[in-house]
């Protein structure tokens, strides 16, 4: 009897042990399969992006630009937030998923997390100057000794009224940075000096840096253009450039240097504002004006205002002088600069404060052609010291380009005229407005493209409902009360009938 009991217990024990082992093996096997598959799916991006604008993916245009990068150049993308926390935030996830996909497709591009709190030396390395900071929201693109640093905000457009992001612009920004940091030769943008220029816009300087330029200053009365000069920026001069009215062969004047350099393929970006908030009226600069006239551009002396189409930051009710511009349309090269933005269902606003009208003196002359890039709105008025009158749609940002044939290839160089100094100030070079992108696109056109920006904005899906509150409340009552009431009623009927059946 005891032996039988012992035998039964032994069988139970064997069976029980086998059952436990089997259970453990199955559970562990399932966990292992999941871990392996999750890892593979993570590394190989085994997911389907169901959003309309493929927010989480890399576009074919993006791939085409990344293919232009020398594959032997290592590019590192540093996130200053832990990777798992990036994935928990809607917006940082977009940036991270994009970089992850790029990294999976391009072996020379990788990403990592740097702890800026623990590793102060690393954080110090990415400070541009003593006043700069590295924060946890930064994304740093690095190759060799070159790097570009972004905050998360810089990768999005946001609505200045609601302060909500409405589009993701990270693909253009991040890929342009990757291209910029791998350029073998860093082109130089010179800021002219000696004419009272306003060269204090750090936001504009940052833009040039992000576009891949090294920034230097140049005093053309004392210096000549270097070989590496790609772009000259003239920021609202209040004194004229040195000319040579007597045709003195011993004098190589500023205007002559500038004219020759432009004829040899240099690019000029000139900002000249209207009546500034300080009350200073625009000055006439005959030598500079004459040079610009050869390129078909003439800055008028009036200042534009528009009560119907003007903005201030964070509001659509504007100060009249801060104009909301109108994008050029059509097939002109000026319209192509802004076509990506103009073609959106809700184009971002381009803001031109204290705008001066620009007259285009010719359409085409001596292998140079002109076009408008941004106009004022039809409701614009122009004001001068003596009168205010209707101005209508006039160019406030314009372009002129020269066509040259070099080795049987059509090559262009540009003069971009912006009739506003404030256009490039920090207030308007932010994610609320399109000013940043207009300038980026201009820089793209200047000689060998530094900034590949022909990448579409990824606009977020608009979930807004066009429903008034009364209607919404009625539907709510119907769904919350009527539908459940019907269900409960059916249930009660069934229950009573069964009870009495």
């Amino acid at each position: 009897m005891n032996n039988q009991k012992k035998l039964e217990n032994k069988k139970k024990l064997r069976h029980g042990t086998a059952a436990i082992v089997l259970t453990a093996v199955v559970v562990v096997a399932v966990i292992i399969v999941n871990v392996v598959f999750t890892k593979l799916a993570y590394n190989n991006n085994w997911y389907v992006d169901m959003t309309e604008s493929s927010i989480y993916g890399l576009s074919d245009d993006g791939r085409a630009l990344l293919d232009t990068i020398d594959q032997s150049r290592e590019i590192k993308v540093h996130f200053c937030t832990p990777i798992d926390k990036l994935e928990q935030n809607d917006y940082s996830k977009m940036a991270f998923e994009l970089v992850k996909q790029i990294s999976s497709e391009y072996s020379n591009i990788s990403y990592d997390y740097i702890d800026i709190l623990r590793d102060a030396a690393v954080a110090y390395k990415y400070k541009k100057d003593s006043s700069d900071t590295v924060t946890s929201s930064n994304i740093i693109i690095e190759s060799g000794t070159e790097f570009r640093k972004f905050t998360l905000d810089q990768l999005f457009y946001y609505d200045p009224n609601t302060y909500e992001y409405w589009a993701f612009h990270g693909e253009a920004r991040l890929i342009s940075a990757m291209v910029a940091v791998t350029q073998a030769e860093t082109p130089v943008a010179y800021l002219s000096t000696g004419h009272g220029e306003y060269n204090d816009s750090t936001a504009f300087a940052q833009l040039l840096t992000d576009a891949g330029y090294e920034i230097k200053t140049i005093d053309l009365t004392k210096q000549d253009f270097e070989e590496d000069a790609r772009l000259l920026v003239v920021m609202n001069p209040i004194k004229d450039f040195q000319g040579d009215p007597d045709n003195d062969p011993a004098l190589y004047s500023e205007i002559e240097k500038l004219a020759d350099w432009l004829s040899d393929g240099g690019n000029l970006m000139i900002f000249r504002g209207g009546l500034e908030h300080t009350g200073t009226a625009p000055v006439e600069l005959p030598e500079l004006d004459q040079l610009l006239a050869e390129w078909g551009i003439s800055f008028k002396t009036e200042t534009l205002l528009d009560s119907s189409n003007s903005v201030v930051m964070g509001s659509s009710q504007g100060t009249s002088y801060v104009l909301e511009g109108k994008y050029a349309e059509g097939d002109s090269f000026g319209a192509k600069v802004v076509s990506d933005m103009a073609s959106l269902a809700s184009p971002p606003k381009v803001v031109v404060p204290y705008a001066r009208p620009i007259e285009l003196l010719f359409d085409y002359k001596n292998d140079r052609e002109t076009t408008a890039v941004v106009y004022s709105q039809s409701t614009a008025l122009s004001t001068s010291e003596t009168e205010t009158k209707s101005a209508g749609e006039v160019p406030i940002i314009a372009a002129s380009r020269a066509i040259r044939i070099i080795d049987n290839v059509e090559t262009y160089n540009y003069v971009y005229a912006i009739g506003s100094l404030g256009f490039a100030e920090a207030n308007y070079l932010n994610a609320s407005y399109a000013n940043n992108d207009v300038l980026y696109r201009m820089m793209r056109d200047m000689g060998r493209a530094q900034v590949p920006v022909n990448l579409d904005l990824k606009v977020f899906e608009d979930e807004a409902l066009d429903i008034n509150i009364d209607e919404a409340e009625k539907i709510t009552w119907a769904l919350v009360l009527v539908v459940p009431a019907v269900i409960f009623t059916v249930g009660i009927i069934v229950y009573i009938r069964r009870k009495h059946a």
């Binding site: 999941n34 169901m50 959003t51 832990p82 798992d84 807004a464 709510t476 919350v480 459940p484 249930g491």
Partner: protein
């Protein structure tokens, strides 16, 4: 298996429990839908609605699963199950399927009604909407499997319900612990376990195959464990 499935489905609709479940679910689900979409109007967010609606499962899924096996034990009818020619896995799968049909059917039909208003007053992305719905159904199926397992462990329906509530709360809340954990390794482990972190991708508009496998695995593991519980009873 079909017979067990039919019997289970009948039991939901011949007793008040099915109607109470669907009625309560319809009421609160529609309320959440209205709060986060219709009443928001221009700020409508279907992703938030789908995310928040899962917290209804804390109460609703235990209602469905609490009696599945514990009732059988209490009524002493589980001997019929244990001696039935139907395999244990088939029997358990049939009960799971019945509970999932109740949950999935009512959820799908009610949401189709709700979502029709999004199409009437807006332009939603169909793929994202239905991806989110699928994500919710997958989460629900995982919770049902867990609920059935807990129901198999006890003959007391209340204990089964409370146990399931606890398990669901744990799985839903585990990802919130990430905010308090300094170690990235531990955060990754918690995220791996967390149902919510797997679900979030669906609300972003991402159909994640790894998440699909995860939910299927949870269903399989807990149904397998339920089989093991009954297998032990059969031989003890």
């Amino acid at each position: 298996m079909l017979a067990i499935y039919k019997r289970e489905m009948q039991s939901y609709f011949t007793s008040p429990i099915g109607y109470v479940y669907i009625g309560v679910f319809a009421m609160f689900n529609s309320l959440l839908f209205s709060i986060f979409t219709l009443l928001e109007g221009a700020s409508s967010s279907s992703g938030t609605y789908f995310f928040v609606s899962m917290f209804l499962f804390i109460v609703l899924i235990p209602i469905l699963t609490m009696k599945s096996f514990s009732e059988e034990r209490r009524m002493r009818t589980e001997q019929l199950i244990l001696t039935s020619p139907v395999g244990l896995m088939s029997m358990i799968f049939a009960k799971f399927l019945a509970a999932f049909t109740m949950f999935g059917g009512s959820y799908t039909l009610l949401n189709l009604l709700n979502i029709s208003f999004l199409y009437k007053y807006g332009e939603p992305n169909t793929a994202t909407l239905f991806g989110s719905m699928l994500g919710v159904l997958l989460v629900g199926s995982a919770f049902i499997a867990i609920g059935l397992f807990i129901s198999a462990l006890t003959e007391n329906q209340m204990i089964a319900a409370i146990g399931t509530i606890g398990a669901i709360l744990f799985l839903l809340g585990i990802s919130m612990l990430n905010n308090f954990v300094g170690s990235e390794t531990i955060r990754n482990i918690l995220s791996w376990i967390s149902v919510m972190s797997r679900f979030n991708n669906f609300t972003y508009g991402i159909f994640d195959f790894a998440a699909l496998l995860y939910y299927f695995s949870v269903c399989f593991v807990f149904m397998f464990l339920t089989v093991r519980v009954y297998d032990k009873r059969r031989w003890s």
